[in-house]
């Protein structure tokens, strides 16, 4: 195409390529199986709703629960709108500080999603990178990386988080601790999840390495790094996407667990887990909505993402097609 078109069109050729790709996607078998599965469509829609609610929270949420100045203690402990004592202003009720539960959930989801996403990206980059090197280079490097992976697996996320937090507390001055907490959390969850990516990518890399297009690249004289990144990587990313989606659900729950245990995000930026934790204190004194609604939100979000991951795995499995 570039031979025929002039400079003007080559700068816009990315547009045609994108449109081309989209056309191919909507015509593909994957999209067809998507359309045919009502559960998947529902899961997708649900996830989209959560995303929009979370990231458009500053605009959509009825109240900005993070702004302490807007809180009114008189509003505290209001039950949900359909119960006696509830008001239509606070659809899902309020907590002990007068925060609107619905808005808190939306902002909380934002934190959960950010932590979830960033930790998955961390895992993917670390895992895929190590897996590629391990699979392509082989030999002692491979053994070393796999042994590190084995050691990593024996540390659960919670333990890693506790270790990292303890370390951070000892090293950093007081003021920085809260700001850094979220990053420590991301690294902790990321570190506990990279092994599955590394293993899958290593296996696929070893398969691709023996294929003739890799040998052709070696004959041309490409460096091992160039071959790994430009040739092998695009061909091993398939399963990574599936694992990443399911990992996201897991990361969100892990973050909630850590926050629930008090080792997660600081209370000034509550995530769903934090909300559940604080609300838990009031569960048996009758104000059940403070913990149940965030809990439900967490479950639905994790389930939706999980179902999407399931569908993706089946759709991408050539044997089932």
């Amino acid at each position: 195409m570039a031979t025929v078109m002039g400079a003007e069109q080559t700068t816009r050729s990315w547009f045609w390529r994108l449109r081309d790709s989209l056309h191919r996607f909507f015509d593909s078998d994957i999209f067809y199986s998507f359309r045919r599965s009502p559960v998947t469509v529902l899961a997708f829609v649900t996830t989209v709703i959560f995303f929009v609610a979370a990231f458009a929270a500053p605009i959509l949420a009825p109240f900005n629960t993070n702004d302490v100045a807007t809180l009114n203690l008189m509003d505290a402990f209001r039950p949900p709108a359909w119960m006696a004592g509830g008001s239509s202003e606070h659809l899902l009720g309020t907590d002990e500080q007068g925060r609107d539960v619905l808005s808190a959930i939306m902002f909380g989801t934002q934190v959960s999603l950010i932590v979830g996403f960033l930790s998955v990206i961390f895992s993917v980059v670390l895992g895929v990178g190590l897996g590629l090197i391990s699979g392509y280079v082989g030999g002692r490097t491979d053994h070393l990386i796999m042994r590190i992976a084995d050691v990593q697996l024996s540390f659960p996320a919670v333990l890693v988080a506790l270790l990292l937090f303890g370390f951070a507390k000892a090293v950093l001055p007081r003021g920085l601790q809260d700001a850094v907490a979220i990053y420590v959390l991301i690294v902790a969850i990321g570190l506990s999840n990279w092994v599955q990516f590394a293993r899958t990518v290593r296996g696929s890399t070893m398969v691709e390495k023996s294929k003739e297009y890799v040998q052709a690249a070696r004959v041309i004289g490409r460096s091992p790094f160039a071959i790994m990144v430009q040739h092998v990587l695009p061909n091993v990313m398939g399963p990574v996407l599936v694992i990443a989606t399911i990992s996201l659900a897991l990361a969100i729950i892990t973050e909630a667990t850590l926050s629930f245990l008090g080792v997660g995000v600081p209370p000034t930026q509550p995530s769903l887990g934090t909300l559940i934790r604080f609300g838990n204190n009031f569960l048996f004194s009758g104000e059940w909505w403070m913990t149940i609604f965030p809990g439900l939100a967490l479950v639905i979000l994790a389930l939706a993402v999980n179902l999407l991951g399931d569908w993706l795995r089946d759709a991408l499995n050539p044997k089932l097609r």
Binding site: M1, E212, Q215, A216, I220, G221, R222
Partner: protein, 349 residues
């Protein structure tokens, strides 16, 4: 045939693979190291502008020789001379690159030899970009289009992905990629074995045409003797890692010397003589990890004697061929008829 006009010269080229059991097993079970001698002392000369074919059955090492020449494996022993340059003397990247640029490879499997995620134009342009032969997107694109047309495809095919093409078309793309850096020497590893007969004819015609047009030298690996007959100028026969005979095509097919060559030629199903009664030679290719002593072929050879069982034969000049066979040296072989059937054939099916 003088060695002076040989573009590529192999002397005693060898490659051993370590197939020993893991260290711990060897320690505990007291096992020895196991060495697979995939290529064992190959010495041939490939003349400039001609096609030299290496033919043999599975496990004979011909594909390994191809990979040794192109640099995918390092030799255990022996020397590779390319245009009088000893490949082993090239140490730095700066020294190796200009030489490697002059040789390219075409692979057997049209489905695995092209990266499924790359567009055809990128696949063909890769050598150009890697060796910085041209610069500028339009210049490169024009060259890619030229190459596509040269191999019988259309310039517009560049935007497509490999899976949109048939096996034969993919081999054409592989050939275009191999030609992109304007090499002098092309190593072809069974390029038509995975293709249908009519497509094979197209590719063979194309390769012959390109050779004439650009003065290319081919090292052609194949197990199909008929294809080898059609495309080669010189043919070498390999058995279990060694070259047992090599000479120019006509001499080899009309006056084969080595018993294995004779057996191979006799085993080919012949389109001309339908329903002919053949007496195939017995036995199968032995395990390459524990090959027979002396001449590898002696268990299946009707002319084997004690010397064959103990002494490895070396390539010796006989009329217009190079043969590695004691029986030939000792003149113990019967005369051969034109069709390749010896006066007395042996063994049963």
């Amino acid at each position: 045939m003088s060695a002076n006009d040989a573009l590529v010269s192999l002397s005693d080229l060898s490659k051993d693979f370590d197939v020993s059991p893991p260290f711990l097993n060897r320690l505990i079970e007291r096992q020895d190291r196991l060495l697979l001698k995939a290529v064992d002392g190959v010495s041939i000369d490939i003349p400039r502008g001609r096609t030299f074919s290496l033919v043999g059955e599975s496990g004979c090492g011909k594909s390994t020789v191809a990979r040794l020449v192109v640099g995918l494996y390092t030799p255990t022993r022996g020397r590779i001379l390319f245009d009088d340059i000893d490949m082993a003397t090239l140490k730095t990247q700066a020294e190796i690159e200009p030489v490697r640029k002059r040789m390219q490879m075409i692979f057997q499997d049209p489905y695995a030899s092209l990266n499924p995620r790359w567009r055809v134009s990128d696949i063909i342009a890769e050598p150009i970009r890697a060796h910085k032969l041209l610069s500028g997107r339009d210049t490169i694109a024009r060259r890619v289009g030229e190459l596509l047309v040269q191999v019988g495809l259309a310039a517009a095919d560049g935007v497509k992905f490999p899976h949109e093409f048939s096996g034969g078309q993919r081999q054409r793309i592989s050939i275009a990629r191999a030609l992109a850096s304007q090499p002098e020497f092309l190593i072809c590893d069974e390029p038509t074995s995975a293709l249908d007969v009519s497509v094979q004819a197209q590719i063979l015609n194309l390769m012959k045409g390109l050779q004439r047009q650009f003065g290319l030298t081919y090292l052609f690996i194949s197990h199909d003797l008929a294809v080898v007959y059609h495309i080669s100028d010189y043919v070498g026969v390999m058995y279990l890692g060694r070259v047992v005979e090599w000479s120019d095509k006509r001499a080899l097919f009309q006056r084969p010397w080595h018993p294995y060559t004779r057996m191979l030629l006799d085993a080919i199903p012949d389109l001309e003589m339908t329903g002919r009664q053949r007496i195939p030679v017995a036995g199968e290719v032995p395990n390459p990890i524990h090959p027979p002593t002396g001449c590898h072929f002696h268990p299946r050879c009707p002319y084997a004697n004690d010397r064959c069982r103990n002494e490895v034969p070396t390539l010796v000049h006989k009329e217009s061929s190079e043969v590695a066979c004691h029986a030939v040296l000792e003149d113990r072989l019967p005369e051969v008829t034109v069709s390749g059937e010896p006066a007395n054939a042996t063994a049963v099916c």
